[in-house]
Each structure stands twice: as C-alpha cells, then as structure tokens.
Symmetry: C2
Subunit: 225 residues, 2 copies
C-alpha cells in the first residue's frame, strides 16, 4: 500500500505566517545591527541551536569550562518560561542573561538586541546564544551571531537530519551528541554525519558526548576558538 | 553567581507573530469546522504531538497494529519536506495522507481541512493526525480533533515538561516513551509524570516503550478506544 496523497503547504496560505516577508526582513535588519555592535566591541558570538534535550546546555557548560580562563564569556539562554538552564550555566561563573520567550518558539534579533543592551560588551570576548529547544523555527531568524552550532542527538532517530534540512544549511558546526547511546538507539552516526554533509558540505561534523566531554575539544577547534 | 538578568518577551513586540490574534481566531474557526465535519461522519480523531524523535510515529504504528481489525483507520502525517514516516505507517495497510509544511513548524486547521477533503470520510472510523516534530508551536493551533496525545521521551531530559508547559495543558494522554532508557539517562519517570499532572491534572500519564509495545494498551484504554 502506498501513501494515498501528499499535500504541500503553499506560500501565501492564510496560516503561513512564519514566511511573512516583512517580519523576516525586519529581523534580518536588526540581526545585522546586532552583528555590527558585537564586531565593534570585538565580541565573538556563537548561536547554539537544536531540539529539546539534544544537549545544547551541556555543550555550552563543557565549552565554558574549557574556555573561561582564555576568554571573558557571556551566555544568553532562551527558554519559554523557565530559568533552569540559565541557572545551571551561571554556576560556572560566567554572566548569563535568561531570555523568556513566553509562547514563542524561537529567539529573534529583537530579543537578542534587548539582551545585548543589558550587557557591558567591553567586558565580553565570547558570547554563546542558546536558542529555545526547537529544530525548525530558529532557522529563519538570524540573531546577528558570527557562527552557528546545531546540536542533534542520536536519540532523535535515524531520519532526523533529512526531515529537518533547513536548520543545517547555515550551520558552521554540527555536534552529533549522545554517541554513547548510538548502538542502543540503532542509529548510525556516520550516516547521520553524511546526511548533514549532503545538505551543507561546509559544516564541520563532530561526534560528541557532552556528559563526558568527548568531542568538545573538536567542537572548539572547529569554531577556531 | 546568579543570573545577571531575565528578559521576557512582551505581547505586541514586533516579531511576536505567533500570537497574532487574527491568525489564531481564523485557525480556531476552521478547526471547529473540521470538528463538525468529523463528528458528522462519526470519525473519532486524535492528535499526536511531540518533539523530534520522541516516538510519535512508533506509537501510531503500534496502535494501528492493535486497532486496525476493529476500526477503519486513516492517518495524516505532518512533516516539513519528507514522506519517510508516512511511508512507514502506510506499510500497516491503512490510508495515509502526508502533509508537507515546507518551513512551517506545525500543522494548522487549514492544512488538515485540505487533507480531510481528500479522504472518503464515510470509510473512516478513526483518524490519527501526527503533527510536525515540535513541542512548542502546535500547542496554539487546534486542528479540530477530539483528543490530543503528547509523546515525550526520557531522552529529552529531566526538565523537559516544566520547560514546555503549554503543550500539556490540553493533552488527554501523555505518553512518557523510551522508559527502558530512563536509568541510563538518569531521568525519573515518576517525577516527569508528576510534572505533567501539576500542569494538567486531568491528563492520563502512561509510561511506554513504543519499540516493544509496552504501555500501548494503556494508551488505547486512556483514549477509550
């Protein structure tokens, strides 16, 4: 038996609101202003994106541990309503600003702009911006950062990259996390990495276990930090 | 060290587009029409929502196996661009319509309305509508279904419920999946279930392993099927 039918959403349909060009243009313009502000103060900035529980916060924690003696680090942490992760990261002795989006499913350049105004950028060398747990919506909203990491987890299944291509198109680094569970999940890490490379040949793909720290040095090297 | 600051997105901010009341009202109206159409034809309809890789498709497969001798089943399967999951479900001998949302991060009542028009509703008793893998955006877009299942996975971490409360508010059943990995992930399933109950005391919480079928009968019972 085959699939009975395939329906494709067309641009301009009434609920196709994410693609509103005015919103995207306004966001892109403000993202560019954020970028200029960061560059002016010599702040290196990195987006960290990925689905719920992929390991974004754990990766940031491990990078902060390794980098905080070399750089003055700040972290923006996006979440709907909680500050749990922001508190976890702040225990590492770096400045953290929590950004609560309410029901919004992604950060945008406006929220990041507000957060940047609360920070003394002269005192920051490196900024991580952790987005809300979502592998889809953040792709369309640049925030102004220099580089983008996407964290995926083998627990998300064997097809997760091909099913969500857009987020990988602009990624500089893709961390395939929880590789210790790959066998139990029957997921082929090399195949997942190949799926990423087909979408974006320039992305550096690194296998990680953010609990043990495996692969974190390679992520840092890929970001040229 | 504490969090330096907490920024909260306010309604009416320029990029706060999801909360556009006109869009939500138009969606709600069309969802009501979908509901009436389904009721008129005696079709029981169930949303299946959850993040990427939580096990939505696996749960539907197991339910289809157990229920297809008792009901004539159809499945709508939302995904950005692929039909991988739709093909997997169609192997079980039920009618499947794939709905590709493009860059959209959730189904809406309009897309479901289009899919309903392609289906001979007189030949259907039970309809599962699997949303795009996303634990945030689908919460605001009712589709017209009778009941909602949310599938979460222990691999998504110990705080995943409290961090994404909105999706649980209208859930009839919450399946906590991959319970075989709970110990390895250091996640307390009872605690996760308690987090759900705090948000929505009426939700039935079922521990599942959709690979082995553990808990699937309880999900079916909770849906009164």
């Amino acid at each position: 038996m085959n699939i009975k039918d395939v329906i494709r959403a067309e641009e301009g349909e009434i609920f196709d609101i994410e693609l509103d060009e005015n919103v995207l243009k306004a966001n892109a313009k403000l993202a560019q202003q954020n970028r200029e502000l960061l560059l002016k103060h010599g702040v290196n900035s990195i987006d960290v994106m990925g689905s719920i529980g992929a390991g974004k916060t754990s990766l940031i924690e491990k990078m902060v541990e390794k980098l905080k003696t070399r750089y003055r680090i700040a972290v923006f942490k996006g979440d709907l309503t909680t500050t749990i992760d922001a508190e976890i990261i702040s225990r590492h002795g770096v400045d953290v600003i929590a950004i609560n989006t309410g029901k919004e499913c992604h950060l945008d350049a406006n929220l990041v702009h507000k957060a940047l105004k609360r920070l003394n950028l002269k005192m920051v060398d490196l900024l991580f911006i952790e987005n809300v747990g979502n592998l889809i919506c953040p792709a369309e909203f640049p925030l102004g950062s220099e580089k983008r990491i996407v964290v995926i987890s083998v627990t998300e299944g064997p097809y997760m990259v091909v099913k969500h291509p857009f987020i990988f198109m602009d990624a500089d680094v893709v961390a395939i996390n929880k590789v210790d569970l790959a066998e139990a999940m029957e997921v082929d890490v090399t195949k997942l990495g190949g799926d990423v490379k087909k979408i974006n040949p320039k992305a550096a793909v690194v296998a990680t276990n953010c609990r043990t720290g495996e692969g974190v040095n390679q992520v840092i090297a890929a970001l040229k930090l």
